[in-house]
């Protein structure tokens, strides 16, 4: 993926993020995810239906990388099973750590494949994924 494409994906998802609204619907599980070292702070609302992720919305304040990554995550993971979502999340972590990962699986998530070079932005990109992972793991308990 070339730099211009990556940039376009990040900016589009930052400026017009998918599902950026809070929901009062009680069938959604609410998870807060934040970065201790900075001020990124997001609430993520997830609706599970059995094993399926039926819907995800979010709300809060965070930097361009965090907001856009949340939007990308939502775009990729609605409709997936919990297992598929965890697989995506773990591959995203591998990418942001600079390790080998399944490039095809991540689709536009590849826009963040340079993040491993910027230590202080890695936590921004992974922020929503850590929140969703927590929610999935809790729902499996």
């Amino acid at each position: 993926m070339d730099q211009e494409t990556k940039r376009a994906i990040i900016m589009e998802n930052y400026q017009n993020p998918l599902n950026r609204y809070r929901t009062e619907d009680k069938s959604y599980l609410k998870i807060n995810t934040n970065n201790a070292s900075c001020i990124d702070n997001l609430d993520i609302y997830i609706k599970f239906e059995g094993d399926l992720i039926k819907d995800i919305t979010f709300d809060g304040e965070a930097c361009a990388i965090s907001i856009s990554a949340t939007s990308v995550m939502i775009n990729n993971l609605i409709g997936k099973t919990k297992e598929e979502a965890l697989d995506y999340i773990h591959n995203f972590y591998h990418m942001t750590n600079g390790d080998i990962y399944n490039e095809e699986l991540l689709k536009d998530g590849n826009a963040y494949n340079d993040i491993y070079k910027q230590g202080n932005r890695k936590t921004c990109a992974t922020l929503p994924f850590r929140g969703l992972e927590k929610a999935i793991l809790e729902s499996l308990k």
Partner: protein, 398 residues
Amino acid sequence: MNREDFPLLKEDIIYFDNSATSLKPTSVIEKMNDYYNNYPANAHRGDYDLSFKVNQEYEGARELVKEFINAEYLEEVVFTSGTTESLNMIVNGFFGNLLEAGDEVLITTSEHASNVLPWFHLVNKLGIKVNYIPLDDNYYVTLDNVKKALTPKTKVISLAGITNVIGDKRPIKEISKLAHDNNIFMVVDGAQMVPHIKVDVQDLDLDFLAFSGHKMCGPTGVGVLYGKKELLEHLEPINLGGGMNESFDNPDEVYLKPLPTRLEAGTQNIAGVIGLGEAIKYLNKIGMDKIGEQEHQLRKYLIDRLLPIKHIDIINFESDSGIVAFNVNKVFSQDVAYYLNKYNICVRAGNHCAKILKSSVGVNSTVRVSLYFYNTYEEIDNLVELLSDYNRIVKEMI
């Protein structure tokens, strides 16, 4: 000015995060190395020459602090790990034994967490009440507003001398007088004040003052608790152990050393204390008045250059310290900081540990430029040039 004294400033870097911590001059670093290399013994023990030298240097630093803040007695200067520890000792060790349910402590919403959370702890432990002095339109504390916030139950006023987000200098002397006229204790968080302006604890008539070494050209991990002698006598040591006791046989027969040693249990941060002493010598050599004046001029220049930029909203353009807080229109503060970082400019983004301030200011986070005497007009020009091009910020913030 004095840039040649700071090793980092020889690099291609612009350091504008002095409220978080200041740079350290070579003399301070060498003084600490000298201790570690040439006389690394413990203080207050041993009858050999090396240990004697350590003691001389350690107590010499106390003398330097005493003169620097014009304390009346040497015993009033206690070394701690920093402002946070000092404030926790004051709040828990002194006020924790004095205040009762219903007593009131006055602070503001722009205090640093270290001057909020210890008081919250006493709210939960003792049932005291924390009240807030209303801030004016510029987020300042005025004497009138302090008067209005007083009640017969007010026992303590605890304020930063200069705040770490708004950067306003509080009228501490006047507030202190008001406090004492009403039998109220006056506690000052000096973390952002002592490094930047001359502080005279007797002239200000402070009951307690806390500050850190690392924001005033000294090392990290060392700070000062100042307290009036008659009050410090009643500050209960939180740390008990070596170095602070005279003798002990059983729980009923424990005798503690006099001040200030009683409050410095265990082996102290000796290199840090000696380094802090050297930092004070360094600041004295330049002169606190000159330091304050230089910061004032730099700040004025920065504000004058930022004001015409339409997409920049300055939060505190009227305040009088070296702190400038602002936001770039529709750009998250952290993204601005990342953008500037690409050009080796260090600024801080966030709420700067003043988490209850957002309710007053109405913005959750800001970009903060905090200046010190070694910053320059050229550095400010570089910053302003990068901030003046909105499209460039948006383009390069990711």
